[in-house]
């Protein structure tokens, strides 16, 4: 364990006022102020949403990306517990943590975005099985519960409670499988949300395969997030990059990306949207940027074993996968919907503050969890050794 940077940061947590600490503080203060405005003055006073453009950054980034980037959790738990590839176990916990925090992030963002968030439980009581949103609502609730249960042994271990750990361990297989099923439904259903607007979503992005495309890209981006998260942990907590585990994952990611890229290309041709790339207009540019930076570049980069097996190359490749994923979700939810709406949507600064602050709070929560819970193997408490791992 490379302990130098970790000790430096741990030693004086409230020491000198760093730049990012100030940014964090300002963000949190602004966030509190915007929250008050949002819930007292309504969505119109705080967002640039309108009847022509009713879904903005909070859906496009917070919900669509938050859910997708949490996909590493089900991918990895399935790898370890269903496919029984136990060697990936050391990175399961931080991934579960990322997934759990990701879903909490989505729920908090939804509380901001919903017009009447105190009714968020209504889909439990008032059913409409014909609605994709109904499916999304149930998946968010159930999968957050599953993630909480999957994560709970780590908390119990931290608290040195052995019996509850055993209970969870006993139901772990059904839990993991439920998690995989719910995630598959949820990831794809976010794409299904847009199936019903064939005449509104730009042909560069509309496809009857949207659910499948959302699922495959989420699996790839979920793996990308595992790599990015490992890299950040390396820098923040003085950990080593688990290259021997991440490199095979990256290979799976590339396979997923290639499949995804192939399907995207096919759908663009099938929609006859190739012409749209030659027309003047920002849709074509953004499409090319998204595909170039988010699919082609990482596939090329990570196809070279030497790049893939290096810290820097691997992290760069994964970063572009995540970036491309975020761009895709924003393109579907914003860029692709603007022409039909007949208006442009640029989020208000208050929408951006809420999104950024929630991301920052997520990082703070991650850091706090690492500090207080046995997230990384070397941080495990001696007393808890020998207990089955979540």
């Amino acid at each position: 364990m490379r302990s130098a940077p970790a000790e430096r940061t741990m030693a004086a947590p409230w020491g000198r006022l760093g730049f990012w600490r100030v940014v964090f503080g300002v963000l949190v203060v602004l966030f509190a102020a915007v929250s008050v405005l949002r819930f007292t003055r309504g969505l119109g006073a705080t967002t640039h949403l309108s009847d022509a453009f009713p879904w903005g950054l909070w859906i496009g980034f917070d919900v669509l990306c938050g859910v997708g980037l949490a996909a590493g959790a089900f991918t990895l738990t399935a790898t370890v517990h269903v496919f029984n590839l136990r060697r990936f176990e050391p990175i399961v916990r931080p991934t579960l943590l990322t997934g759990f925090l990701g879903y909490l992030f989505v729920i908090v963002a939804l509380l901001f975005d919903l017009g009447q968030p105190w009714r968020i439980w209504h889909p439990l009581v008032f059913w409409n099985p014909h609605s994709v949103m109904f499916e999304v609502a149930w998946c968010v609730m159930l999968y957050t519960l599953v993630l909480a249960l999957e994560f709970s042994p780590i908390v119990f271990e931290g608290l040195r409670l052995e019996r509850p750990q055993r209970v969870i361990h006993l139901v772990r297989t059904p839990l993991v499988i439920a998690g995989v099923l719910l995630s598959t439904l949820h990831q794809s259903s976010l794409g299904s949300l847009y199936l019903i607007v064939p005449e509104k979503l730009h042909p560069l992005w509309y496809s009857p395969l949207l659910p499948l495309l959302f699922f495959i890209s989420a699996v790839s981006a979920g793996i990308g997030m595992i790599v990015v998260e490992s890299y950040l942990s390396m820098r923040a907590f003085g950990r080593r990059l688990e290259l021997e585990l991440l490199e095979p994952l990256a290979r799976a990611m590339v396979v997923g990306l290639v499949l995804y890229g192939f399907l995207r290309a096919r759908e663009v041709f099938r929609n006859g949207a190739v012409a749209a790339l030659r027309e003047p207009g920002y849709e074509g540019t953004l499409f090319l940027l998204e595909v170039g930076l988010g699919i082609v570049l990482p596939v090329v980069l990570l196809s070279f074993p030497r790049i893939r097996a290096s810290d820097r190359g691997l992290v760069a490749g994964a970063f572009f996968v995540v970036l491309g994923f975020v761009m895709h979700r924003l393109n579907v939810s914003v860029t692709g919907m603007e022409r039909a709406a007949g208006t442009r949507y640029i989020p208000s600064w208050m929408e951006i503050v809420v999104s950024l602050a929630l991301v920052a709070l997520g990082f703070a929560a991650f850091a706090a969890a690492v500090r207080w819970l046995p997230i990384f193997p070397e941080a495990r408490r001696p007393g808890a050794a020998g207990v089955p791992r979540g």
Binding site: W20, F24, F61, L323, M327, N331, Y345, I346, F366
Partner: protein, 137 residues
């Protein structure tokens, strides 16, 4: 611990900012509502086949003759713009059954047009018989 937050945030802010910039590149200011264009006048070439029947205000106070309100004499005056009088000051589906001089003399009810400028005033004593025509004129 906060150092960790700091380092992580740096990267994330960068990612989010670049994604936001890319996602919205080339964006113009959000569309705002144009100042409402004055609407063209309603068409005059279609017959008004179903105007409501005349309204009779017969419980008069201090006047001998009941008032009969005719849509036909008012609609063309208002340029066939029904919204000039509806739903305020006059409701359509459940029309007022009374119209009183004190209110209209202060600019309410009929007085919102019959103010001496747009149409003869409700206080103009020489105009009484224009409205108070009796039930069998």
């Amino acid at each position: 611990m906060l150092g960790a937050v700091r380092r992580r945030m740096g990267l994330w802010l960068g990612a989010l900012a670049s994604a936001a910039v890319l996602g919205c590149a080339g964006g113009a200011a959000p569309a705002t509502l144009q100042p409402a264009q004055p609407l063209p006048p309603p068409r005059a070439d279609v017959e008004l086949v179903s105007l409501p029947a005349d309204l009779v205000f017969d419980r008069t106070v201090g006047a001998e003759m009941a008032v009969v309100f005719r849509h036909t004499s008012h609609v063309e005056f208002a340029g066939r713009r029904c919204i000039a009088c509806h739903p305020a000051p006059f409701r359509m589906l459940a029309p007022e059954r009374k119209a009183e001089h004190p209110e209209m003399d202060e600019g309410g009810s009929c007085g919102s047009c019959h103010d001496g400028q747009r149409a003869f005033a409700t206080t103009d004593e020489e105009s009484c018989e224009i409205c108070h025509v009796g039930l069998d004129p």
